[in-house]
Subunit: 209 residues, 2 copies
Amino acid sequence: MTRVLLIDDHDVVRAGLRAILGSQPEFEVVGEATNGDSGVRQALVLLPDVVLMDLSIGAGMDGVQATRRITAEAPDIRVLVFTTYDSDADIVRVIDAGATGYLLKDSTPAELYAAIRAAARGQATLSAPVASVLLKRMQQPETALTPREAEILELLASGLSNRELSRTLYVSETTIKTHLLHIYRKLGVDTRSAAIAEAGQRGLTRRRG
Amino acid sequence: MTRVLLIDDHDVVRAGLRAILGSQPEFEVVGEATNGDSGVRQALVLLPDVVLMDLSIGAGMDGVQATRRITAEAPDIRVLVFTTYDSDADIVRVIDAGATGYLLKDSTPAELYAAIRAAARGQATLSAPVASVLLKRMQQPETALTPREAEILELLASGLSNRELSRTLYVSETTIKTHLLHIYRKLGVDTRSAAIAEAGQRGLTRRRG
DNA sequence: CCGTACCTCGTCCAAAAGGAGGAGGTACAC
DNA sequence: GTGTACCTCCTCCTTTTGGACGAGGTACGG
């Protein structure tokens, strides 16, 4: 029996996961949470085998932070990211945060079962589009953004100035400028506008809402 | 009994909707489709009271086109858009295509029931964030971009500098700057980065090949 | 221990962009 | 004709970015 904790702020998605996992005797949904704080708390109390984590869980602690907390404080819990976007930046950051796998929400039930089983055994699973993003990145290592750079690019793409970036991330404007220059080189551009456009092309942006 | 057709390419979402609607005797899920073509065909055959339509249903006919087809050929069917994004452009386009309502996927079951009941009676429903987008737009009609401004914003969003814009459009940099200032005021921003981000949010950008 | 990658911060300078204000031209509706 | 909306261009000024250095700190694997 594999014990699963759901962290997702969409009622419909949680209901779907309950229905799909409930139809298989090998899985048991032991808890649900709709935000990062509650999710982390429940994970540490319930100690599930696998956490199914949505990355876009709204206000407060986001999915990446929640993943980091859980894997840091309870290394035996496997965090399987289950989300809508294949944002390049998110993948890098959440895997860096300790996630065991990354599934897109258009996965079939069979893929979901397999991924949870694999995660419970500690094996990694990536959705095909996600895997291809990472593979492409391996083949062209010079374009690989570091986690920090990916984070900054994502904020950049939401329209922040250097000053706003520095205050958001609690570092100096100089640091922001340095990161941006590195990002520009890796993206092959020389203005922030082109970097934002390129980020959009590469699907590195996050939608609001 | 309200007969509902689901059009969504996510297994998990369809399972969730089945579970949530199935718990209420007033609703019956009479069919499911995972793409626009199949969805339109089923709608015209099954003649449900309400279609729950995801806008991002991948390749082929998209959600807006499918909505237009269904409402054009079977005006008695109410199309309730049920999707993740509150993209400004999508909302306007799909309502123009004849959708009766627009719900975000983070709606609660109660909101979903109410919206389907309302749609079955022909009444419109909009999620709060969606309604606020439309209201804001109604209240500030001066935010409409002129054709020239829209053209410049689109080029801007591809990363061009003022000089590149001026050369592309055969006008002076001064002219570009003037247009940009007008665009900034209409978009409520004061930097090109924020304007690009805003353009992305409003779906005003074009993807290059 | 050493090398490497990453994140951080600094200076100095040049280029680009933002902002205010004015202004001439066309096209079109009333 | 008058008014309005739009596109075009100008000057003068401040602020922001981009670019080219260097450099200290941490973390990690060989």
